[in-house]
């Protein structure tokens, strides 16, 4: 589809992309003990980027996220693996998680969890893999 040919889709997606991303963020944070998590949030974010690619084109997506998606995958994997391995340093079994309560400004008493860091890794890996696959197929003429 040539650029600028579908004004409705483009205008709607300008708003919807942010809604989808916000919902992905919500899913990401709610993930530990209720439905959600890094995997589903990653897929949803990739969905938002895909919408952008459909409404505009792949070049726009590349401009919005100017990183190599393969590297994002690798960084995600490294974070996830690193969190799992961190437990070894404390003499805990592999993948063991830890949490604590912290007084944060604005949020007040917040429970912070190392599983969230692991999820961040999963999130990045999923976004990276999905976008690599989609862009590879999309560019293949």
């Amino acid at each position: 589809m040539p650029k600028g040919s579908d004004i409705f889709l483009q205008n709607v997606s300008k708003i919807v992309v942010f809604l989808v991303l916000a919902f992905a963020l919500y899913l990401f944070f709610t993930g530990h003990s209720s439905p959600g998590g890094g995997f589903i949030a990653g897929l949803m974010s990739a969905g938002a980027l895909l919408l952008l690619a459909l409404a505009y084109d792949i070049e726009t997506v590349r401009k919005v996220v100017p990183f190599d998606f393969k590297l994002i995958t690798a960084i995600g994997l490294l974070i996830a693996l690193g969190t799992g391995t961190g437990a070894l340093l404390f003499g805990q079994p592999f993948l063991k998680h830890a949490f604590g309560h912290f007084d944060l400004p604005l949020l007040g008493d917040t429970e912070l969890h190392t599983a969230l860091i692991f999820d961040l890794g999963v999130y990045l890996a999923v976004v990276g893999v999905t976008m690599t696959i989609l862009l590879t197929i999309g560019e293949d003429r």
Partner: protein, 492 residues
């Protein structure tokens, strides 16, 4: 709890991820992957020592006790195979520094090898059926990428077969896992074994076990092997060596593990079926090896035939046979890798894969010839070499149980493999030297050097079999008595 159990999986995973960042720096990639592979050998040796002295080591991932969490179990059988796999992969990596072209190296070759290695080690170490599936997939995904890497026409054709057959069997795998979970309510291997022993192996569970038999047979190349000789011959030698040595053996490991630990109550059905499939595999694989003239296909059929041979031991399932199976499996991983690597050098030297177009390589590079001969004799099981003790024990075990047909099949196989490998030796190495690719190809000595450690191990494993035997017997004692495994998992 012992965190060392996860090391053989964690080291390759970390290496694979780090290598993605360095995919343009070839020298650095090579060094990092070799060092990591050697570290993995060290970790496996350390684990071997611990298991021999302190019994089976387990790790409850994330601290969840079995059967609720995923548990990694390092018993001697698993650790021996992990060790063999890490040795083989170190040598294959060393070989690929010279044997793989730069284009492939740049396209994440080393990352993929390490991902595959993580999957292989994970499959050996896991104590959970679903986790076994996950590790299988990790290994298979990487192998899909490795087999097509380079993108020649032949690779594309064979990859299509390979992916389709494996996706199909993975689907069956998940389906049978779901049936099993529905029937027993657990997927922890030790817990499954307990529950099925308590409630008896009823008809539906035997049916599920037959389904799992089909799944693992496809992966191992037991009877359902039609895809194997073609797809293992398509990629370069270093990759075929990894495939021939590791992938089918993981399937074989899964077969032995499930049918000695869980589904051992209806031996007259399941083990009978395994025995029949094994004999068929031996006959078909043996004839395949004899009839082919393409080096890689001959070796592919050799892989199949020895899978059939190890399955004979599983069909017999007595102490001698299983001890022999463990020994033979370790030997087979190493010797198959060596054969594929040497065949890779042979093909590069002569510029053809057809043995009737080769000739006189012995005058040109005698060392290659003699190494190939020794490796062939080890496959056949000539006494001072490593093939002999395993083969002897398996045949002895089948005679003890009065399974004369199985013993006869084992001996028949030996003759056919001897013929197929000596045929390569006679046609390719003897006679008048033919057209050789002398001008450019100068890598032979270095490639031979990187295969030499495997050669050394074959000889040492055969000569010092007595010293190696205690480890093998520890491994087979767990296979014979599942309660040892169950107690180790549920001890805490």
């Amino acid at each position: 709890m012992n965190n060392w159990v996860v090391a053989p999986m964690l080291i390759p995973l970390f290496t694979a991820v780090i290598l993605i960042f360095l995919h343009n720096k070839l020298k650095l990639q090579r060094w990092i992957s070799l060092i990591s592979a050697l570290l993995n050998v060290c970790a496996a040796v350390f684990l071997l020592y611990q298991v021999q002295h302190n019994g089976i080591q387990t790790l409850n991932m994330s601290g969840w006790a079995p059967p609720y969490g995923i548990v990694l179990v390092a018993d001697m059988f698993a650790v021996l195979l992990v060790l063999a796999a890490s040795i083989v992969s170190s040598c294959c990596l060393l070989y690929s520094f010279r044997g793989i072209d730069e284009q492939r190296e740049r396209h994440y070759f080393y990352s993929l090898v390490h991902f595959m290695l993580a999957g292989v080690s994970g499959s050996f170490l896991t104590g959970d059926l679903f986790n076994l599936f996950v590790c299988f997939e990790l290994m298979l995904m990487s192998s899909y990428a490795l087999i097509v890497l380079g993108g020649t026409k032949r690779q594309f054709r064979e990859t299509l077969h390979y992916i389709l057959i494996n996706v199909l069997s993975s689907t069956l795998f998940v389906a049978s896992i779901a049936y099993l979970y529905g029937a027993t309510g657990t997927l922890n291997l030790a817990h499954l074994s307990m529950r099925i022993a308590e409630s008896g192996q009823s008809g539906p569970i035997t049916a599920v076990s037959a389904l799992l038999l089909v799944v693992f047979s496809v992966k191992a190349g037991l009877f359902l092997f039609f895809w194997l000789p073609g797809s293992y011959g398509a990629p370069p030698a270093a990759i075929s060596a990894l495939f021939g040595a590791l992938l089918t053996k993981v399937g074989m490991y899964a077969l032995i593990r499930t049918f000695t630990l869980i589904f051992y109550h209806q031996a007259e059905v399941t083990h009978m079926l395994i025995g029949t499939m094994a004999i068929a595999t031996i006959v078909l694989g043996g004839f395949g090896a004899v009839s082919q003239t393409n080096v890689n296909r001959i070796l592919g059929y050799n892989v199949i035939a020895s899978i059939g041979f190890i399955s004979l031991a599983l069909a017999v399932s007595n102490e001698d046979a299983l001890t022999g199976a463990v020994f033979y499996l370790v030997h087979d991983m190493i010797v198959k890798a060596l054969l594929f690597l040497l065949a890779g050098i042979l093909v590069a030297e002569t510029g053809t894969e057809r043995i009737n177009r080769m000739g006189g390589v012995l005058t040109h590079s005698p060392l290659l010839g003699w190494m190939f001969l020794i490796a062939s004799l080890a496959v056949v099981g000539i006494p001072p070499l490593s093939g002999f003790p395993g083969k002897l024990l398996i045949i002895q075990g089948s005679l003890e149980s009065g399974q004369y047909l199985i013993a006869a099949a084992g001996v028949l196989l030996t003759l056919m493999l001897l013929y197929s490998l000596i045929k390569i030796f006679i046609l390719a190495f003897w006679g008048k030297p033919r057209r050789l690719r002398e001008s450019k190809w100068k890598q032979t000595p270095k490639l031979l050097l990187s295969s030499a450690p495997l050669m050394l191990i074959i000889v040492l494993l055969g000569v010092f079999a007595e010293a190696f035997m205690p480890y093998v017997e520890t491994a087979s004692s767990v296979l014979i008595d599942p309660t040892i495994y169950i107690q180790a998992v549920f001890k805490e």
